[in-house]
């Protein structure tokens, strides 16, 4: 039986051993990210960064833990609401709001994770989907969340109390919210680095072992449920970090962020980019979010397009973009 994620990416990394070579992708990414706001609308770049982190956090669970959660929007959107409320109503500084929202997503992750890891495979997907609906309806009905309108006009505020995140600076002839951009870049790189470290840690290796053969991992004495729960909570917190940051970037937390469509979207980003590859979710997120922006004039044909991409990916392209490239390079080299 074909397993969910191809191990091709980890095989590929073995050939990379020189320290400079292993840092090269990070350097390239840093250069691209620093150049991007001069070429593209900065808010859009920041949104891309948030979704890339969200997809990478989701992939930590699906690609490396083999657990398909169909309810990850509840962490993303829930944290967005929490962060928005903390900034707008309680008047917290942005970094505190984001920390609080990330921790909140973690608590939610513990609660949902403890129930969901009792079932495997398809059931896990259905259970997470159903539990996330509780969060969705809470966001719809609670008086603090603004119902159908969502939380609007979330202020960016003063970072650490003295850096104005809404300020725009003239850099090389274009107006850029420099402080905000660097803040978002730091958060997203930090989150992504944590995922990268986790995957390459002993914990990540055990996680992969559980994905490949759970009974065997149990027989070797690993407490499988504890590992799964830890991965679930970590993924939930990083998704929350992405959601809170996104709320800060666009100044809005809406029902779209918590709905099951968003959960489906992050599955698609990961599937399209390549499950179980580190770079795949980033590529997938950039593709899907750009697609949304490009096609936004077409109304609900966007939904149809997303559906078609899903079908094509599942039928003919299960390795995803990055997974396919990795697979071919391995074969041709």
């Amino acid at each position: 039986m074909e397993t969910l994620a191809s191990p091709s990416a980890s095989r590929l990394e073995k050939r990379v051993n020189h320290p400079f070579v292993s840092y090269l992708p990070w350097l390239v990414a840093a250069v691209v990210c620093l150049a991007a706001p001069f070429l593209i609308y900065p808010v859009f770049v920041m949104e891309l960064l948030c979704f890339a982190l969200f997809a990478a956090a989701f992939n930590l669970l699906l690609g490396f833990g083999g657990l398909l959660s169909f309810g990850h929007a509840c962490f993303f959107g829930g944290a967005a609401y929490l962060c928005g409320h903390a900034l707008k109503v309680w008047g917290l500084t942005p970094e505190l709001g984001i920390v609080l929202a990330t921790l909140g997503a973690g608590v939610l992750g513990v609660l949902i994770g403890m129930v969901a890891i009792r079932r495997q495979g398809i059931y896990f997907a259905m259970v997470t989907l159903a539990l996330a609906q509780i969060v969705f309806f809470s966001c719809l009905q609670l008086p603090q969340t603004g119902g159908e309108d969502g939380l609007q006009g979330i202020p960016r505020g003063m970072l650490f109390g003295f850096i104005d995140l809404s300020a725009e600076v003239m850099v090389a002839g274009s107006k850029i919210p420099l402080a905000m951009y660097l803040f978002v870049l730091t958060l997203c790189f930090g989150g992504y680095w944590l995922i990268w470290r986790t995957v390459h840690s002993p914990f990540g290796v055990v996680l992969k072992a559980i994905r490949e053969n759970e009974p065997r991992a149990i027989s070797l004495g690993y407490r499988v449920d504890a590992y799964k729960l830890t991965a679930f909570v970590l993924s939930a917190m990083l998704s929350g970090l992405a959601g809170a940051t996104k709320a800060l970037v666009v100044g809005l937390a809406s029902l779209t962020d918590v709905s099951w469509h968003m959960s489906g979207e992050v599955v698609l980003m990961t599937l399209l980019g390549g499950m179980g590859t580190l770079l795949g979710p980033v590529v997938g997120a950039v593709t899907v979010v750009s697609l949304h922006h490009e096609l936004s004039a077409l109304g609900s044909w966007v939904t149809v397009t997303i559906g078609v991409i899903f079908v094509v990916c599942v039928m003919a392209f299960r390795r995803g973009i990055v997974g396919e490239i990795a697979y071919r390079m391995k074969r041709s080299f």
């Binding site: 398909l68 169909f70 259970v127 309806f137 149809v304 899903f310």
Partner: protein, 300 residues
């Protein structure tokens, strides 16, 4: 709390009505899952397509053909499930069939994509708020006095009809030769094939049956709820929860759980309305903590 007895009763009957739909839909999901190992995310979309088949047959087809008589309710009750089922067979033969050998999650993802396609296409042409279906048969207009309360005749019909269909499916699966083939194919496809049972054919037939049940539920629901492209997507998640609570093991389990949860939802709507949307999900969480395999399920 000051709630009149008749208000409670009428909400509970409405709950029973929803429960009958949950039973029909979760039954189809359970049958498909048992035979194909696919969680049919498109089930809600097929339900929606069933309702649209009834609506289009009545209102749009005559306009298209220039005649003044459309396909009425009783014909739609037969044609709707048939069309939806045939669409299902087409999907099974061309796509789902290729996914049996890979991880089961891909079946879920494929049907999720298909659900998005159906929903997206129809959203382009129809109002999301929904359109009323005017083909309710004349003999089911008005209300019936049940002795303890007065209840709309059509709703009573939809409860009774859905239950009859549920029990017919139960009889088909548990008491007939075809049903025994079906169970054999579920239990062990390889051995069933060795005994000369055409398992691929049986799988198509199962998908046809499950999807047609969803289409049938859609036709029956059309006169009650407004027909909208989104009508299936919210329902399907509740039905997933119903299936997790009941466990996918038994057909009778799916029927009983569906009805019971519909009743519970109706009761909660009276006593604490804010919880009405989430009560089934909360019950699901509790059941998972207590019996991970579901009420009627076997761990597999």
């Amino acid at each position: 709390m000051d709630i009149s007895f008749s208000a409670v009763l009428s909400q509970i009957m409405l709950g029973l009505n929803n429960g009958a739909f949950y039973a029909l839909l979760s039954l189809g999901l359970a049958v498909i899952f048992g035979m194909l190992n696919v969680v049919n995310f498109a089930h809600g979309a097929f339900y929606m397509l069933g309702a649209f088949a009834a609506l289009l047959g009545l209102d749009y087809l005559p306009r298209l053909l220039g005649s003044d008589v459309g396909i009425g309710f009783w014909s739609a009750l037969l044609l709707g499930p048939l069309l939806v089922g045939l669409l299902g067979v087409l999907i099974e033969k061309t796509m789902l069939q290729r996914l049996y050998k890979v991880d089961h999650l891909y079946g879920l993802l494929l049907t999720f994509g298909l659900a998005l396609i159906f929903e997206g296409v129809l959203t382009n042409y129809f109002n999301v708020a929904g359109e009323p279906y005017s083909g309710k048969p004349a003999m089911l207009e008005g209300a019936v006095n049940l002795g303890f309360m007065v209840f709309p005749a059509y709703r009573l019909f939809s409860i009774v009809f859905s239950l009859l269909v549920c029990f017919a499916v139960w009889y088909l699966a548990e008491r007939t030769r075809l049903g025994s083939y079906l169970r054999a194919g579920t239990e062990n496809p390889d051995v069933a094939r060795a005994f000369g049972i055409d398992v691929p054919m049986l799988r198509s037939l199962t998908y046809f049956l499950g999807v047609a049940l969803a289409g049938l539920a859609g036709v029956v629901a059309a006169p009650i709820y407004s027909v909208s492209p989104k009508m299936g997507s919210d329902l399907i998640i509740v039905v997933f929860a119903v299936v997790v609570i009941g466990g996918m093991g038994s057909i009778m389990g799916a029927i009983v759980t569906g009805l019971a949860l519909g009743l519970l939802e109706g009761a909660v709507k009276v006593f604490y309305p804010p919880l009405a949307n989430t009560v089934i999900f909360i019950v699901m969480a509790l059941v998972l903590l207590w019996r991970p395999a579901g009420l009627f399920g076997k761990e597999r």
